[in-house]
Amino acid sequence: QQQVKQSPQSLIVQKGGISIINCAYENTAFDYFPWYQQFPGKGPALLIAIRPDVSEKKEGRFTISFNKSAKQFSLHIMDSQPGDSATYFCAATSPGYNAGNMLTFGGGTRLMVKP
């Protein structure tokens, strides 16, 4: 059961453009929504995260928009740069059994920013 659905699978953006990646979730117990960036041969690295009590969070060129009623959230990358070319994963987690917080990941979006 895919609890977090991510789209698009791939995205090509011109340098300076806006990259938008969307995610939808099913489990209403999810309470924390991080985005991870992964370069080839590397592990995922946290980019930005949001709690559902806010509708937007911005850090530099990266913004998360969150719609709790629609159970959707999205990542916007402003002024996209070739160095942003990577695979992006949305994820979700909830207060877990024994205080663990296993991440449930979306399927990933491969972003290519053309110079």
């Binding site: 041969g41 205080a99 917080n101």
Partner: protein
């Protein structure tokens, strides 16, 4: 400081063999997670340790998979009677504690290929 390290970086084995994958978490991190990432997919949770104990092993696919963390630091993921379907990148992550907003820091992964 050093990040999460994993060894080996690549492991090729034959169907039916036993393999061990090692994870060295960030020093002082009490929470440790194992994930499995199949080609073109997002990571999937396998097991979570809080200290020395496996607090949540609900993601282990079957009893061929086992993991230990005997001293609360290094962890080893063990796979018996490997199958071709076990081929994937195995990722380890650690966090300072197991709480909801504690960042999980991922290692580069071990790419397992079962021939």
């Amino acid at each position: 400081g050093a990040g999460v390290s994993q060894t080996p970086s690549n492991k090729v084995t034959e169907k039916g063999k036993y393999v061990e994958l090692r994870c060295d978490p960030i020093s002082g991190h009490t929470a440790l997670y194992w994930y499995r990432q199949s080609l073109g997919q997002g990571p999937e949770f396998l097991i979570y340790f809080q200290g020395t104990g496996a607090a949540d092993d609900s993601g282990l696919p079957n009893d061929r998979f086992f993991a230990v963390r005997p001293e609360g630091s290094v962890s080893t993921l063990k796979i018996q009677r490997t199958e071709r379907g076990d081929s994937a990148v195995y990722l380890c992550a650690s966090s300072l504690q197991g709480g909801l907003t504690y960042t999980q820091y991922f290692g580069p992964g071990t790419r397992l290929t079962v021939l």
